[in-house]
Symmetry: C2
Subunit: 339 residues, 2 copies
Amino acid sequence: MATIKDVAKLAGVSTSTVSRALSRKVRVEDATREKVLEAVARLDYHPNSLARGLRDGFTRTLAMVIPEITNPFFPKLVQCVEKRADERGYSLILCDSGGNPAREKRHIEELRSDRVDGVLFIGINDCDCAERIALLRDGGIPAVLVNRSFDLGVDCVTNDNRRGAREIVARLIRMGHRRIACLVMAPESQHYRQRLEGCLQAFAENGIDGYQQYLVPDVRGIDDAYRATRRLLERRERPTAFFAFVDIIAFGVYSGIYGNGLSIPDDVSVAGFDDIATSQHMSPPLTTYKHPVERIAETAVERLMRRIQRRAGAEPARIEIRGRLIVRPSIRRVRECAG
Amino acid sequence: MATIKDVAKLAGVSTSTVSRALSRKVRVEDATREKVLEAVARLDYHPNSLARGLRDGFTRTLAMVIPEITNPFFPKLVQCVEKRADERGYSLILCDSGGNPAREKRHIEELRSDRVDGVLFIGINDCDCAERIALLRDGGIPAVLVNRSFDLGVDCVTNDNRRGAREIVARLIRMGHRRIACLVMAPESQHYRQRLEGCLQAFAENGIDGYQQYLVPDVRGIDDAYRATRRLLERRERPTAFFAFVDIIAFGVYSGIYGNGLSIPDDVSVAGFDDIATSQHMSPPLTTYKHPVERIAETAVERLMRRIQRRAGAEPARIEIRGRLIVRPSIRRVRECAG
DNA sequence: ATGAAAGCGCTAACAT
DNA sequence: ATGTTAGCGCTTTCAT
């Protein structure tokens, strides 16, 4: 591995000149730069970013801490973040907590040694967020909280859960649905609480009541969703529509409906939330509310970079990015007789 | 940020003693270690891994270059690799090529500056592999080729595509299927070529011919699969079974079959390959051949670590890890009349 | 415009 | 067992 000294020697200049010629921030004689560049090429020189980082305090590395890359919601987000980071010359360290809060904590502590310039944090549990962010602050590492919005002294970038859920439910109501089953997931999470609020708002605005009996509060996985769906469909007055609080959960709803010998959307309508990659390829394609991961990634990286460069207003921003309703064939107007 | 000097001063010892007390490789008086540890705690000291890396030549960072994290095959693999790396005290830099060979190349070149200790490489195109691996070798970076097996002077870790495809097709044949549609994906890729070979072997061993007319060679996406399926089902002698060369493609097959008003598995059987997370939750759950990503990840990381530590036999290993058939309700014995 | 030299934080000889 | 010192490769004053 050639070092800057080798380049300097071959080019017949000092190491500082090589450094300057390469950094292009300082004026260097054209002829000198030529010589340096030629030596660089000849020696196949690649600057050592560790040495650079040690010297100037920037590693040009970001870390992203996520609950589980196997949750189909995250791959796109990670991809977009990596792309945005890369565009700015940054590498991305991926810290997958594997759903384990203890590992999440360890990851954060290890990041203090890794000297990353900043961290994009998506926690497993809301209740641990404050501690994790505090840990990063103690380490002097700028952080952005993604997909959650708390008053923790850091920038937050999330989506519009309330509005989205409200739009979904309002749309179903407008199609004549009255018995709408809401599969809520984890009620202790801000995300799902906000989505629930959106649902309730839609019900209230449209004067629908009795929705409580179709509200399942703790649907944590696809199998839960399957069972809940089967159970709901066995009722005398079965729901005519299902709103799964995340698209993944809709898988279980689909199985449950098909398992009961019913069809989508003729017998039952189904909607999800997030618009993960597979949703458009389900049979039938799933109506959902797009979680704007591209813009969330872009915004989060942009905010983080500002913090790293110590500009950005003092007060942390809490940014909410709008998604949009995506109507696909999984929902239809309720049949009169079924009303 | 406290440095080792601060710790040394507070503990009343030299920096080397601090270093030794922390590295636990060298004997240090218990009392001394105590003092050091206390100072570390008091100052909330976290060693600077850049400085360490610059000094001893190991960054304790691996990189993984993958075609696209949004391809549902990769998240589990990435997760497993990250976990194995983490267990060894290594961080993982994720380089997502976004399906773009030019970006893949740039990533690899940038890794030469990042001074990662090793790279797990999964290329977009087989034909670029040799060049990418050569680039890493020039940079003196140990590499392992994952999911592909070429004679490139590096360890390769893959699965058993031939055997898997053969088992799938043999199983379908044993269930009475004769007209089996094989959706081949990209024929220029080793992966799919091997799977194709497995199919042909199964057909040959069982004396089935005429399979060529049900072989679609270039099904690159879910939409392709949908169209191919619709087309095949419109034939007079339509296939009784579909073998999608990757599970993702089975999404398109399912839509195509349902779009034709047929049912799975009563009218048509469907099998995939890989066993991605969603396969078990499709309606009906998909029969497939498990791609052993956990063991591939484990093996690949283990081989890479050996290379990093400069042990491991001189000749590069080409390891093939066996998967296994996973039978789910998407296939059934062909009905007599349909035979 | 270029060179000399210091130093980022750490570890590993080398000395004691 | 512990301290002293050099140096990893780079950038950045400070001179010239």
